[in-house]
């Protein structure tokens, strides 16, 4: 049963990943990305990481990819990209780096036993039927509270910074970005 789920989802992950880079249309790529993310969520579920699976879907599948799609459809880049505008070295570099990363992963997998070894470096994730929420919350708000709060501050700074930057460029009425954002809700008065 577990093997079946693993192979079906693994195949879906790989098909999705290939689709993301092979798709000519950015919207199709985003949809393949969605397939990959949801399949990975199922794999998390299989590893008894119910909370991570739920967060994966809430954050990645239903917020980030939606934002991707939002930007793609709003900015009108959904017409497909010309394949010849890539930098000449880019493709060679991509292949070389890809092989390097693959080698790195294989070497690491060979040296470690993540799949068959101990399940967690920080002890058991608690009873599976609580969906790991309690254990995770406890360690987030005790051992890692500093890192947790700092991440929150970092995110707020990033949001405020991007708003400031976006507003500054919005003053130029002739900027192309202002035109593309015209249909965005709340950005402009209806007048």
């Amino acid at each position: 049963m577990e093997a079946v789920v693993f192979f079906v989802c693994g195949a879906a992950v790989i098909i999705g990943a290939l689709g993301v880079i092979a798709g000519r249309n950015p919207v199709h790529s985003a949809l393949f990305l969605l397939l990959t993310l949801v399949s990975i969520a199922v794999l998390y579920l299989q590893q008894h990481a119910a909370l991570v699976a739920a967060v994966q879907i809430v954050v990645y599948a239903s917020a980030i990819v939606v934002l991707f799609l939002f930007v793609i459809t709003l900015l009108g880049v959904d017409k497909g990209e010309a394949p010849d505008d890539a930098h000449p070295v880019q493709q060679v570099a991509a292949v070389v780096l890809g092989v390097l990363v693959l080698t790195g992963i294989l070497v690491l997998v060979h040296g470690n036993r993540w799949v068959t070894g101990a399940h967690s470096t920080r002890g058991a994730l608690g009873a599976a039927d609580s969906g790991n929420v309690e254990t995770l919350a406890k360690s987030l708000f005790t051992d890692f509270v500093w890192a947790f709060e700092m991440t929150a501050v970092l995110l707020v700074i990033a949001v405020v910074g991007s708003v400031v930057l976006a507003r500054r460029s919005g003053h130029r009425a002739d900027a192309p970005s202002a035109e593309a954002h015209a249909t965005e809700p709340g950005e402009r008065s209806p007048a």
């Binding site: 919207v27 917020a63 799609l69 939002f70 459809t73 599976a128 969906g131 709340g186």
Partner: protein, 401 residues
């Protein structure tokens, strides 16, 4: 995987054939119930609105026109389906299913009755009781935006695209308030499982609907949930997604035949699912007084009464939805956005903080009244500061010109 679902007594131990059959029966029955209730809801909605507007409403197909929806469905099923030339065909075909799937999956975690026994197996009367059921609801309501968004984009035409852009902005905005409202319940319940949440609202005495059900304890969250859920389902007064006067028909303008019917079905399925979730989280789910003159383990008290209570509560909420649909005009788009971003989200965050404070006061055995009033006071002060620092609508217009 079986450990994950072991909350339900059915799935403890080994999975035999009869267990498998029970699971399949539950899934099939839930799907059929949802389909039939959509059919009846659309009929009832048309009848009630007709009544409110001094009309007769559907009265030809079947007694009181109850088969009208079925007739409409059959008609749409046999109609020709057209795909515009400029459409993105695979996505155009995919979109309706993307919108109906989350609506059904969300219903799967809703408990519609107590613990019963089928084929000699004890089981909950809900398709599945996930350990993170509430998060699952959030995840599925988030996925719901894809159908609408991709339908509008793939149609390759202006009005649907505008409709889908509106929809995705609206759904993303209200998703935050929706999640925070659910959080208000989760903090008090201390669990994510829908079965557990319902169990905490069980009927113990005649005043349970005040003391045990979460609607009063989390009243602010309850109100925010109802508003946000209405916006999430694109129901009036938040139906800007398909504002006929401005957008022809919104995201589904180019859809015909059965694909259009599926969108229609998904929309009303969402309304029913959201009402069911509101009942589960705030109104005690299937809890209610049993028949006192019968034994507690009588088949009527175990099987029928919880389901009856659940259905009655869902019907009450659905009637309220129809009432709102018949009486409120559609909101203006900027009002919709400022309601979501400037009011609901802030109030929901502050409510979560107040709830958390009170919960800590209960655990630490502080004086609850003092803790609660300090928390509420701080929340009101915080909102005052926030509101004072918000740009007034006039200033905002100036800034963007």
């Amino acid at each position: 995987m079986s450990h994950l679902l072991a909350l339900d007594p059915l799935l403890r131990g080994s999975v035999t054939w009869s267990v498998f059959v029970v699971v399949v029966i539950k899934v099939a029955v839930a799907f059929v119930i949802l389909l039939v209730s959509v059919m009846l809801y659309i009929w009832a909605m048309r009848k009630v609105i007709a009544d409110m507007q001094n009309r007769i409403g559907p009265n030809r197909a079947g007694p009181y026109g109850v088969l009208q929806t079925l007739a409409d469905g059959i008609k749409l099923f046999f109609k020709e389906q057209s795909i515009p030339n400029s459409a993105d065909r695979p996505v155009f075909r995919l979109a309706p299913y993307l919108s109906i799937m989350p609506a059904f999956l969300m219903f799967c975690v809703v408990p519609i009755g107590g613990t019963v026994s089928i084929l000699g197996h004890q089981t909950f009367l809900q398709v599945v009781d996930l350990p993170m059921g509430a998060l699952f609801i959030l995840a599925m309501s988030g996925l719901g935006v894809y159908g609408v968004m991709l339908a509008g984009w793939s149609s390759g035409s202006k009005y649907p695209l505008l409709g889908s852009v509106r929809a995705s902005a609206q759904l993303l905005s209200y998703e935050a308030a929706f999640g925070l409202a659910i959080l208000g319940v989760l903090i008090q319940a201390g669990t994510l499982s829908t079965h557990e949440i319902v169990a905490q609202q069980s009927w113990t005495n005649a005043w349970s609907f005040v003391s045990h059900w979460f609607w009063l304890k989390t009243f602010v969250a309850f109100v925010i949930f109802l508003v946000a859920a209405t916006a999430e389902t694109n129901h009036p007064p938040f139906d800007l997604v398909e504002a006929e006067q401005e957008l022809v028909g919104g995201f589904n303008t180019e859809y015909t035949g059965i694909r259009f019917a599926i969108f229609y079905l998904a929309e009303f399925m969402n309304v029913i699912t959201m009402s069911a979730i509101a009942v589960t989280l705030f109104l005690g789910g299937p809890s209610g007084p049993g028949l006192g003159f019968l034994a507690r383990d009588n088949v009527l008290n175990v099987w029928v009464m919880p389901v009856v209570w659940f259905v009655v509560k869902v019907l009450a909420l659905l009637f309220a939805t129809v009432w709102v649909r018949a009486s409120l005009p559609r909101m203006r788009y900027d009002r919709l956005m400022s309601l979501g971003w400037k009011w609901l989200i802030e109030i929901a965050i502050l409510w979560v903080l107040v709830t958390a404070t009170v919960q800590v006061a209960i655990v630490e055995d502080w004086n609850r009244l003092v803790a609660a009033s300090i928390a509420v006071g701080a929340a009101v002060a915080a909102y005052g500061v926030l509101y004072a620092s918000m740009p007034k609508s006039g200033e905002q217009i100036e800034e963007f010109r």
